[in-house]
């Protein structure tokens, strides 16, 4: 049931994750930034977990491929989840 609801929204990105929540990358929206993210190991099919938020809410850290990656919200927004 949960899955169905998410399928309808279908525009979920890393930005929308809650702390501790995980998701699987589906695609990268911004071509330029996408290259950088790919190189950092954010490949489609990879699992990401929202690890923490900076005290002011932005930037955030995510766990990807067993390491901690920090990025801004507008960068996280380009990582679309399945």
């Amino acid at each position: 049931m949960q899955n169905r609801v998410e399928e309808h929204i279908d525009k979920k990105s890393v930005r929308d994750l809650k702390i501790g929540e995980t998701g699987v990358i589906c695609c990268l929206k911004d071509p330029d930034m996408g290259l950088k993210l790919l190189e950092m190991g954010c490949l489609p099919g990879t699992e990401v977990k929202l690890n923490s938020r900076a005290p002011l809410g932005d930037p955030i850290t995510i766990i990807v491929n067993d390491y901690t990656l920090s990025l801004r919200l507008d960068e996280a927004e380009t990582i679309m989840l399945k």
């Binding site: 071509p31 190189e39 490949l43 005290p55 930037p59 920090s70």
Partner: protein, 717 residues
């Protein structure tokens, strides 16, 4: 590889032996321990030079592999890939793609963080396809083991085709093995990983034949990056540009596909070569620490505490060695002047040695600030500072890391500007460097103190709020606000040269390596002494000459006149000496310039005497007080009360007191904004590698100083 050269030569000699010292380049991801390895290999045999056109330093060093074999080591900026995302990273491709270049390496050592091998191997596989002889240094093998990562080294070696050395560069483990391999295997070519897709063959073949390249992957990179490769001529760029357009070469898509293909290969490779039995303990430690250190309240409190400590250190602790340097220079000058005399000796002591002293005196602050910065960087705390401050600072065109330069600027702009080096983004770094000198540094304190004492009464509000203290605080605040607003202005004006990313690894907390901290202190002090020092000494000497000599027999006449006046007024010998110095300064070249700028500074309420002080304090603000003492023949003893009493008796043409609140506040504001510091100009030139920035800064700050001093003078009079 079908070329049959004389095999004996190739086997017995390292490739580069024929053309002097072999060159080894260190390449690797940020946080992969590249700096530690560089320091381990070279120790104190390091030199800092320039890469043309960028702000990163070119660090080279020499390393003895054996008693007879010595190689040159080049430390390249950390990068995640051979497709550079920042200006500084481009240095790497300029070096590696230009086979005819003077610094083309004979061997690359790729450092990889063994606990995070997947991402680190991406760069390695790219280098492998360039077919440059390589060694893979699996660094931080201890951390990997603690985390339960087991790496099958022989399997990795077999698959990659290059020697793989597990090491712990921080502790020096594996260095000996690495050195032995470097001396033997300067020509192990890695196994290629990625083959250029068939569809791109026409583009690749055209580039290969035009440039005489044999490597497909290198030719592909020419097609991707022709616009930023420095060694290509305009015709070359036009040639590739046309080629790329004709064949519909989609750089972005192709890079993405290539990266995905490489990760697929790496995943398969690591499936066999790496076994992970995760021990959760270690990772949790960093995370737990982060919960406190980046906490909403504690995070900022702790950061404030750290800043306070740094500030205290450069403000207070550094003052002891600084006083020693001042005293030492004075003692040396005294000794020389006692035993020798003559104009050349004056030039040596009061010009050159005093100028050198003025350079040396910054070294304690620089060394201490960089010890702190190295510790903050090494432990991984600096990354958290950036993380916490990014949102606020970004609004003003600054970077989370700008906080350290700005705060350090309150002590001294020179080390502060140097500390902006930690900011990777070009635009953010330039803005930070540009606005840092607006923060009120310690050299402004003497100027502020004398002028405040002159016109602000020592009244207390509520028993503890001192009015003089409040004014001083207001001056600091104005400086800070000016810095922030200027940054915001520059953010709008300045074009970005590269896209600003915040995508970076948040490194795991580590203990600092004291050797790295020490080497950073030495390196920064040396850089300052040799690169900014030259300019500072030169300008100090020029200013000294201007203030110590006058045209024709001006000086003799000034002395005669002073003696005549003294006889009339019945002055003591000291008072006579002071009067002579005062008259001579008036008649010096500096005096002449001071008079000639009087019309320009009159609207601000200043006369030619202040004009002289503005000229002589161009090298350093604190000179203002000394010059005022000389002009008003107050004498050498720099006691605020004495100076204040003397200055209060000074009158203008109408016989009214000269130092009115309007004039004094106007002067305070002038010194708050004006770039009266040669050392800062010299270090900004050094850090930005151009005269354009320090000149723009001087014009901007002098402009602000003039406008706001004018407004202040009008407002108060």
């Amino acid at each position: 590889m079908t070329v049959v050269a004389s095999p004996e030569v190739k086997e017995n000699q390292p490739v580069a032996a024929a053309r002097g010292m072999a060159r080894v380049a260190l390449v690797g991801n940020p946080n992969s321990g590249k700096t530690s390895l560089f320091n381990q290999l070279t120790g104190l045999n390091q030199k800092v030079g320039n890469f043309p056109g960028v702000t990163v330093d070119k660090k080279t060093g020499s390393c003895h592999l054996s008693a007879t074999q010595k190689v040159q080591i080049i430390d390249l900026p950390g990068t995640y890939s051979l497709y550079p995302k920042s200006l500084d990273e481009r240095v790497i491709i300029d070096l590696l793609y230009d086979k005819k270049g003077a610094s083309y390496p004979d061997l690359v050592i790729v450092t990889a963080d063994a606990s995070n091998l997947k991402r680190n191997l991406l760069l390695f596989t790219q280098l492998a396809d360039l077919k440059i002889p390589a060694i893979l240094a699996l660094n931080m093998i201890d951390v990997a083991e603690q985390e339960g990562v087991k790496i099958d080294i022989p399997a990795l070696h077999k698959a990659l085709g290059v020697p793989v050395i597990p090491m712990n560069a921080r502790k020096g483990v594996g260095i000996a093995a690495l050195k032995i391999l470097m001396s033997q295997q300067l020509d192990t070519i890695p196994t290629p990983v990625y083959s250029v897709p068939e569809s791109l063959k026409p583009v690749v073949e055209s580039i290969k034949s035009r440039f005489g390249i044999s490597n497909n992957y290198l030719a592909l990179h020419y097609a991707h990056q022709y616009k930023s490769l420095k060694f290509l001529s305009a015709e070359d760029v036009a040639f590739i540009g046309e080629l790329v357009q004709v064949h519909g070469f989609k750089s972005n898509t192709l890079q993405a596909e290539e990266t995905i293909a490489r990760y697929t290969y790496i995943n398969e490779l690591l499936l066999d070569a790496v076994k992970v039995e995760r021990v959760e303990k270690e990772e949790k430690f960093s995370n737990r620490l982060d919960q406190v250190l980046t906490h909403k309240i504690y995070g900022y409190l702790i950061f404030l505490g750290v800043l306070f400590l740094v500030f205290q250190a450069i403000f207070t602790w550094a003052s002891y060695p600084m006083d020693l340097i001042d005293e030492g220079v004075a003692a040396l000058n005294g000794l020389i002047q006692e035993n020798f005399s003559g104009p050349l000796i004056n030039l040596l002591t009061e010009g050159v040695i005093a100028g050198l002293g003025g350079v040396l005196v910054f070294v304690p602050q620089i060394a201490i600030l960089f010890a702190f910065i190295a510790i903050l960087e090494e432990t991984g705390y600096m990354a958290r500072v950036t993380f916490m401050m990014d949102k606020i600072m970004r609004k003003f065109g600054l970077n989370g890391k700008s906080v350290v330069p700005l705060i350090s600027g309150v002590a001294c702009a020179v080390p502060a500007v140097m500390s902006a080096r930690t900011i990777e983004n070009w635009k953010d770094r330039m803005i930070t460097i540009f606005v840092t000198p607006l923060m009120s540094c310690s050299a402004r304190i003497p100027v502020y103190t004398v002028l405040i004492a002159l016109v602000v009464p020592e009244t207390y509000y509520f028993g503890f709020l001192n009015l003089q203290g409040l004014v001083l605080m207001a001056l600091y605040l104005i400086g800070f606000i000016a810095a922030i607003l200027s940054a915001w202005l520059l953010k709008v004006v300045l074009k970005a040269r590269e896209r600003s990313y915040f995508i970076m690894e948040l490194p795991v907390y580590k203990m600092p390596r004291w050797k790295n901290v020490g080497l950073t202190m030495v390196e920064k002090s040396k850089t300052f002494l040799f690169e900014a020092g030259k300019v500072i000494v030169a300008i100090s000497v020029i200013l000294w000459v201007l203030a110590s000599y006058g045209p024709g027999d001006n000086f003799e006449r000034a002395e005669q006149q002073a003696i005549a006046e003294a006889a009339e007024l019945n002055l003591s010998q000291t008072e006579l000496d002071n009067l002579i110095s005062s008259h001579q300064l008036e008649q010096s070249y500096a005096g002449i310039i001071g008079r000639s700028i009087e019309p320009a500074i009159e609207p601000l309420g200043y006369d030619w005497k202040i004009g002289i002080a503005l000229i002589t304090s161009f090298a350093a603000r604190e000179v203002f007080v000394g010059t005022m003492s000389t002009i008003y023949s107050i004498g050498e003893e720099e006691n605020v009360t004495t100076i204040k009493e003397k200055l209060l008796t000074v009158t203008d043409k109408q016989g009214e007191p000269f130092f009115t609140p309007a004039r004094s506040f106007s002067l305070m504001i002038f010194y708050l904004f004006a770039m009266q510091c040669v050392s800062t100009l010299a270090i900004v030139r050094r850090e930005t590698k151009s005269w354009m920035w320090p000149m723009a800064q001087m014009v901007y700050m002098s402009g602000l100083a003039y406008i706001f001093a004018l407004i202040t003078f009008r407002a108060f009079s």
